[in-house]
Amino acid sequence: MLYRTAGQFKTSYEADFALFPVRQDAILLGVILLFAWVILPWSANEFVFQTLLIPVLIYSLAALGLNLLTGYAGQLSLGTAAFMGVGAYACYKLTTIFPGMNLVVAIALSGFFAAAVGVVFGLPSLRIKGFYLAIATLAAQFFLVWLFEKWAWLYNYNSSGAIQVPNMKMFGVYVAGPQATSLTQYYFVLAVVSLITWFSINITRGRIGRMWKAVRDMDIAAELVGINLMRAKLSAFAISSYVAGVSGALFVFLWRGAAEPVLFDVQLSFRILFIAIIGGLGSIIGNYFGALLIVALPVILGIVPDALGVPIRAAVQEHLNTMIVGALIITFLIAEPLGMARLWGIIREKLIIWPFPH
């Protein structure tokens, strides 16, 4: 009933190509945006902002970047964290070299550095495929993290080797650094994430997205119908790394406040890959589902025993947590290998034909 599409007629091609061919999708999105922009920020406290809302958004963005590459263009990458690191360090250098620079501009620019590095490490994809490529991207992962560690210029030669986010203002309000409130940071992140999501939806629906999908499904066939493989693959690496770089800059500047190279370790890459796969490869919304499961769930699991008053040792709880996440990943892969986005798709289909399934 809620999702009945009867009576919605398309009278032009434009209408058929619209972002929301079904009216209820648009309404649902409106409700979600209302929640994201108004209701959640009002009801959340500091803990919820810092451990759930902001990280979930940033991780979804990173997973979105990876998903463009792996889910749409079919190039498996295990180097996302390193590209995030490039974004973060670029942003740090930009803001320290040009102290007056607007943070939005700095973040937007730092994405380009990540994109450039991404293209360089994407070059092997022209020759290497599948798991070989995945391991090749690990070269980027390990080399770049090593570089963050050794190249003292990147962290302004400070003795700890870690970067610290200075207090930064925009329009007279602190947006980054310890003085910034969580609410401002949340809105900042939400705005960037919304914008990039909108951009990504459109890019994947357009010519470039179709080109990527053709390469993903069978690259030789794609080449035969006249798609330039080099352009398709490298553009995927560039755009994906751009998004990853932006999310890396947000990661450090709008959330963590400080970073050491080991933060961008391969574990982070895997975490983001989990989000993309559990959420659903080749989908945009899946990344949000995945981030909720991988990032938010462990935090919530950590609170449950306390809330229920179950006495459990902190370490034991952490071990159980790891086990549960591992088991959940396996369960999800078995239950729906196409990810949570597909699950939502099935639910939506059912809703559309409900209550007359035949």
């Binding site: 090749a136 070269a139 390990f142 066939a221 796969i277 370490a315 086990m323 396996i330």
Partner: protein, 319 residues
């Protein structure tokens, strides 16, 4: 000019001027290489027979070593602990096949890969829950592994060879020899290879997929235990060992995902080269710690010329 000298001449001059040191470097490289090869072998076996890129090989090493040490701590004699650990690895193999692999038959490779990372996380949590997180000592003496060292004085210098390392190398060679015999001479071994060549054809002649998977995972478990013992003897047993899985990946790239000789030669080659590079180029010129990435970059360069690895099977693509 000076830089060119530093890169092209000086390292070799250093090698020649201190040949005993060079020999020590090569020996250390060889020992690490053998260990990399062992882990890579675990990967290759599983990949060949089931197309699963088993990321959990690293944690299996830790898990096997921890079980062994943990059992011994509870008063189980060393030889029995080894047998019991093998039993645990068998249970693990059966469990993985039943719970994870069977429901995921025919899924894309990446899904299976992710599932093995899920297994990794599960085992990390489970292992720490049971054994605790602290660094444990490998029961080297109890297993009868000698702990002294042989000292040679080539060219008036010093070359010290740990007996435990020597045992590791010999043990690895024996293990690999047995494995190759098993794969080539026994019915089961041939079945494994047949499965690696073509699943459908193998199944149609009556080879049971699930039995083979259990066997292969069990063999990988044995290899994990062997790796755990030798590596644990070098530096203790703890979850930090898990990272050695990352060392095996470039070996696989170099050697090819499906080649047993590739894993062995690739492992030894990477062990030797990364140690040489680190000592003679990395430390003086780049600030050290190049071992984290050298193997990857080397493998990447090789792959640009041979996309299927040095020993990999030729990729034939059809539309």
């Amino acid at each position: 000019m000076d830089l060119a000298y530093q890169i092209l001449v000086k390292p070799f001059a250093d090698m020649v001027s201190a040949p005993d040191f060079l020999m020590q470097v090569l020996w250390e490289g060889l020992v690490s290489g053998v260990l990399y090869a062992l882990i890579a072998l675990g990967f290759v076996l599983i990949f060949k027979s089931s197309r699963v890129f088993n990321f959990a090989q690293g944690i299996m090493v830790v898990f096997a070593a921890l079980s062994l040490v943990g059992l011994h701590e509870h008063g189980v004699p060393a030889w029995l602990a080894v047998l019991l650990t093998l039993g645990i690895m068998l249970v693990l193999a059966v469990a993985v096949e039943r719970v994870v692999l069977r429901p995921l038959v025919n899924q894309p490779d990446i899904i299976l890969f992710m599932a093995t990372i899920g297994i990794t996380l599960f085992l990390v949590g489970f292992g720490e829950l049971i054994f605790g997180g602290e660094n444990k000592r490998m029961i080297t003496e109890q297993l009868g592994i000698p702990t002294g060292s042989f000292e040679f004085e080539p060219f008036g210098g010093l070359l010290s060879i740990q007996q435990a390392d020597l045992t590791a190398v010999v043990g690895a060679v024996v293990l690999v020899a047995v494995l190759i015999l098993f794969l080539n001479r026994t019915r089961m071994g041939r079945a494994i290879r047949a499965l690696g060549d073509d699943h459908q054809a193998a199944m149609s002649v009556g080879i049971s997929l699930s039995t083979i998977w259990v066997v292969v995972w069990f063999i990988a478990g044995i290899i994990a235990l062997a790796t755990g013992i030798v590596w644990g003897a070098r530096a203790g047993v703890s979850f930090a060992l898990e990272v050695i899985a990352y060392k095996a990946l470039p070996v696989l790239m170099l050697g090819g995902l499906e080649s047993v000789p590739g894993a062995i030669i690739g492992g030894v080659a990477i062990g030797l080269l990364e140690k040489l590079f680190e000592i003679y180029w990395g430390q003086p010129l780049l600030g050290g710690n190049t071992e984290t990435w050298f193997a990857y970059v080397l493998a990447l360069i090789v792959l640009l010329f041979r996309p299927q690895g040095i020993f990999g099977e030729k990729i034939i693509e059809r539309v």
